[in-house]
Amino acid sequence: MSKKILIVEDDQDILFALSSLLEDEGYTVQTAENGLVALELLKKSGLPQLILLDMIMPVMTGWQFALEFNAMYDHQCPIIVMTAAADAEQRAKDIGAAGWIGKPFALDKLFKMINENISPLGE
């Protein structure tokens, strides 16, 4: 069984490209276009091993999502913040994220960060 990553991101092109690239790396990928969709998805299909989270999204921002998520699941799954916002590092700290990466990012750097933070299977 492969490890599962949830990408929460409103940019359809980034969602499409990242899914394809992460699947090539052997991960199972789930996607949600905003925080609300992500929360519903988590209720239905359980926790992934890692969440890649965009911050500025319509309907429910990454920040709002993280607050709800941490309250419901108590940091059970590492979050990597993936944002084009200027204050990315602070935002990541605020929500207790495992790490952050600024857009545009080098793919190798993202893969390395995922590798270092992703939960082992069966936890």
Partner: protein, 315 residues
């Protein structure tokens, strides 16, 4: 004149001067809001004028007036400081949004290119879908960069017009035709006189303004016809675009055409761009010695218009 009469007269004068100073300060503060860079200078001139007027008052009033002016100056400084801070905050916010708007399409392009490279490595072919997907963020970047360059030229006073004798009716029809293709499901209705209306304008720039109005009308009204009208008034030609969208609240109207104060600077809407469009439009119409504005009532749609003077000698 009795002492009482003198006292009364001096009080009236003092009250009058204080009221005038208040008006001047209000004007200074308003100017500060519009022209933050020059504001301090302008406020200083206005205060000096007020002081000169105060010097003409009876001697016993002068002391009181000086006190009032000192007080007013302190208040003016507070107002200017707050305004400067708010402008600085807006600029930072604008830069954040600009960076955000630029970084997202670059991230898309970079990732999509990687997907394309992988496809070619694996199968030696490329899905047409990838190329179509690349087109969108590239177009978005081009639009942003063009807007930033226009704004920068306007701010430095380096945007120059290339005026040509132009039939306004044909210009409008041509611009609307472009939009019919871009938004085929929308109903564009043109109202214009049958006779040609020739004016000395920069047709590309006027086209840009009208396209911006039409783009906004399509973006902010989900349905309903969009009316484009060309009307000849006694001293000006008026072009307007009316949509049947949600309208614009009174408090947002003022700032629509001002740089750094986009109505939805806080919005998370990716397609919102930088909000430079209408500021650029205002710059272009100003260069034509015309005027630009919006009429709108919440819930009843909006009419964006510009008016170009018929005797347009200066352009």
């Amino acid at each position: 004149m009795s002492t009482d009469e003198e006292k009364n007269k001096s009080e009236v004068l003092l009250k009058d001067a204080a009221e005038k100073a208040a008006v001047l300060l209000k004007v200074a503060a308003d100017k500060a809001a519009i022209l933050p860079l020059d504001a301090a200078k302008k406020a200083a001139i206005l205060l000096r004028d007020a002081a000169e007027k105060a010097a003409l008052l009876p001697r016993d009033s002068v002391e009181k007036m000086t006190f009032l002016l000192n007080d007013a100056t302190k208040n003016a400084i507070i107002i200017l400081k707050e305004e400067a801070e708010s402008v600085a905050a807006s600029k930072i916010k604008f830069l954040d949004i600009a960076a955000h708007e630029l970084r997202n399409p670059i991230a898309s392009i970079s990732l999509l290119l990687r997907v394309a490279e992988k496809q070619i490595e694996k199968a030696e072919t490329l899905d047409a879908d990838i190329l179509a997907r690349l087109r969108l963020p590239v177009d978005r970047l081009v639009r942003l960069v063009v807007d930033l360059l226009d704004m920068s030229k306007l701010e430095r006073g380096q945007l120059s017009l290339v005026p040509v004798k132009t039939d306004m009716g044909s210009l409008i029809s041509q611009c609307v035709e472009d939009f019919r293709m871009q938004a085929p499901n929308r109903n564009f209705v043109i109202f214009k006189p049958d006779l040609p209306i020739e004016m000395d304008v920069d047709p590309l720039r006027i086209h840009q303004v009208l396209a911006n109005f039409l783009d906004n009308a399509v973006k902010y009204s989900i349905e309903g016809a969009i009316d484009i009208s060309l009307a000849v008034m006694p001293s000006a030609v008026r072009v307007s675009v009316t949509d049947r969208g949600p309208g614009i609240p009174e408090e947002k109207k003022q700032s629509l055409f001002t740089i750094f104060s986009r109505g939805n600077l806080d919005s998370t809407d990716h397609d919102g761009g930088l909000g430079l469009g209408l500021s650029i439009c205002k710059g272009i119409i100003d260069l034509h010695n015309g005027s630009i504005g919006v009429e709108s009532e919440a819930g009843k749609g909006s009419t964006f218009y510009f008016e170009l003077p018929i005797m347009n000698e200066k352009v």
